[in-house]
Amino acid sequence: MKTINIFTLKTVKFLYQYASIVIGVVLLIVSSVMMYFTKDITVVSNGLTSIDNAVFMPRVVFGALILLSPFHIVAGVRRIKTNISNGPSDEEFEEIANKTLRSLTALLLLIVYVWLVGKLGFIISAILYLFAAMMFMTKKENRKPILYVVVSAILVIIVYYCFKHYLYINLPNGILKGVF
């Protein structure tokens, strides 16, 4: 856990100091790659003009992003000194890193939930997600696990029932296929 914290701390510090440069470089690389892939877009021959085709707009959009990226890089280079001298203290960076870690954990919970919906079905994964997210978001001393389980289970079943019977939408059943 400590290694992750140090790694997060270093990443947060680096991103704070060089954010605009990183944004510019990432934009440049991603847009260039996308621009390269525009070659695979079929140009149908019935266009009335040379620019009336499906490649035109992607080239304009990714071209614009390629042109914008140097602005971010230059702005980032200009701000390096200010960012380093006026940046947060080590303690503040640690706090930012801890907050970021918590957000990433919440994101991980969500990703696992969506992945589980496809595997276990909506009912089980939504109950698990609600319980885990409620526990995670609430301070240890204020947690009410039994309430969370009851609320999660009742709510998920009501939602499932309403969608199935009133909206005619079958949410993924997963391993409960045939049960509900």
């Binding site: 003009t49 969500l110 609430t138 301070k139 939602v159």
Partner: protein, 502 residues
């Protein structure tokens, strides 16, 4: 005309019709308030039921669903910072900060009252000017549509608060998301990498849910929530609508401008309330004496967004009734209802079924009144949501939103879209990129491309008509003026900051 109106009201005000409208408004509000569900979905759900109803009853119900659905979006936008639909995005900008400052009652009251005013304004324009406005809508071509969208994008970038380069980048990135899937005009596959799920591109509703709901939970998760944090979400008990008559009349100019924007954008096919609320918000901020207060929870922001999106209902009905062209999702569903009832929407409808047309007008007025009454008495109920600890409420919102996202396309890709754009929103928040231009880019990307391509087809690849057609030229000049003024304001701000440091 008055005879037709009286007769329409008499036909409408039967016990069964009033009950149907009440049900429609309540269901519409629920669908509008739950992120992922929409008024289109509510109308689609009830469409089969209208088979067994008379023409009058069917349209009374469907209009109620439409009006309730558009208005309901403000509830979740204000209370949980997640817009019920794309039409209420701008309501989040000031509605939620006002609620977070303990004035949730005032925020809801403002939203409800100005939703009502917007709807009534739109209906009156529809009644008195539908045929004339429909003519204008037909005369505007892809050149004007393209420049209008460009202007809207520039305006949003101008008020986004971030520096110009970040604003433009966010807008272009939003447009980049619409490059995935089938191209407009010729349906050529783009960036699908052999995947069938990518053929439709990134769906809009899950994208918005991700940007708001997921971003919100990720941000709140930064700190564990305890009992002491609940005080922050407490709300002040207020009387009436939560604002005074003086405050109400101070919004006169803002209301008129926003309502006009709502109607105009509403009657342009393909635009609708999604664009109207953001454009009205941007205009209100740009013309305000205190633009710096926007985003902190002021009444003006809610007024602009809610007046315009509801005024767009009347606007969207203009091309539907006068030309038979649906302007947005719900009106496309209503077009289906005309077919079900054996009618053809369009210019002849005013002659062959004038009684029904006036019944629709009357239903819109009655539903607006029902909406304001129901929502007024619902405020106390809606506010109960603020009492639920955020540690419980936010996961529930994310779960409900994810189900809505799944339901909007019936596939898992929609759920992954929620996650992807949740990450995008979170990263945007961290690096100071504004979300508003990104959303507008994503919403209007297909429109901007299809109109540009149609325009270039018409002009045989010449860009000259963009400056030779007067409306298009004016909009281009306005776009340029917005960008230049924004750049100048930012330059001045930088110089002041530099001087302060030195």
């Amino acid at each position: 005309m008055i005879d037709l109106f009286v007769s329409a009201f008499l036909n409408l005000m039967t016990v069964s019709n009033i009950l149907l409208m009440l049900v429609g408004i309540v269901v519409g509000i629920i669908f509008g308030a739950i992120p992922g569900l929409s008024s289109s979905m509510a109308i689609a759900l009830f469409l089969p039921i209208t088979f067994g109803l008379s023409q009058y009853a069917a349209f009374a119900l469907l209009i109620a669903l439409y009006i309730g659905g558009v208005s309901g979006g403000l509830i979740s936008a204000i209370l949980i910072n997640v817009p019920g639909s794309a039409m209420s995005i701008a309501t989040c900008y000031d509605g939620h900060p006002m609620a977070a400052n303990g004035r949730a009652h005032r925020a809801l009251g403002t939203g409800i009252v100005f939703s009502f005013i917007g709807t009534i304004f739109g209906v009156f324009v529809l009644i008195f000017a539908a045929p004339y406005l429909a003519d204008i809508a037909v005369k505007l071509g892809p050149f004007e549509y393209f420049t209008l969208i460009l202007f809207a994008l520039m305006l949003i970038i101008g008020i986004s608060g971030a520096d110009l380069v970040k604003g433009i980048t966010a807008g272009v990135l939003g447009m980049a998301t619409t490059m995935v899937g089938l191209a407009p005009v010729d349906s050529v596959k783009r960036f699908t990498f052999g995947s069938y799920t990518l053929l439709d591109g990134f769906p809009l509703l899950p994208l918005i849910i991700g940007l708001f709901a997921v971003t919100s939970i990720l941000k709140t998760s930064e700190k564990a929530i305890g009992v002491e944090d609940l005080e922050h979400f407490a709300y002040k008990k207020e009387k009436g609508w939560g604002f005074t008559l003086v405050e109400f009349f101070k919004q006169t100019k803002n209301t008129i401008v926003s309502a006009v924007i709502g109607v105009i954008i509403g009657f342009l096919p393909g635009m609708g309330g999604t664009l109207a609320n953001q454009l009205a918000y941007a205009t209100a901020q740009k013309t305000s004496k205190h633009p710096e207060k926007f985003g902190t929870g002021i009444m003006d922001g809610i007024v602009a967004s809610e007046t315009s999106n509801n005024a767009s209902i009347g606007g969207a009905m203009i091309p539907l009734l006068a030309l038979g062209i649906p302007g947005d999702g719900p009106t496309a569903m209503l077009l289906g209802a005309f077919t079900i009832q054996g009618l053809v929407a369009g210019p002849l409808l005013f002659k062959t079924s004038a009684d029904l047309v006036y019944l629709i007008f009357a239903a819109m007025l009655v539903c607006s009144i029902l909406m304001i009454v129901i929502e007024y008495y619902g405020i106390a109920f809606f506010l109960q949501a603020m009492k639920i600890p955020k540690g419980m409420l936010l996961p529930i919102i994310v779960m409900l939103s994810s189900v809505g996202a799944y339901a909007s396309g019936n596939n898992m890709f929609n759920l992954w879209t929620v996650v992807i754009f949740g990450i995008v929103g979170f990263v945007f928040g961290k690096i100071g990129f504004p979300v508003a231009p990104f959303i507008l880019g994503a919403v209007l990307g297909p429109n901007i491309e299809s109109n540009l391509r149609r325009a270039l087809q018409l002009s045989r690849a010449s860009f000259m008509p963009f400056i030779t057609r007067p409306v298009s030229l004016i909009l281009l000049l306005l776009s340029l003026a917005v960008i230049i003024s924004t750049a100048m304001i930012q330059r001045k701000k930088h110089q002041e900051e530099k001087a302060a440091v030195n």
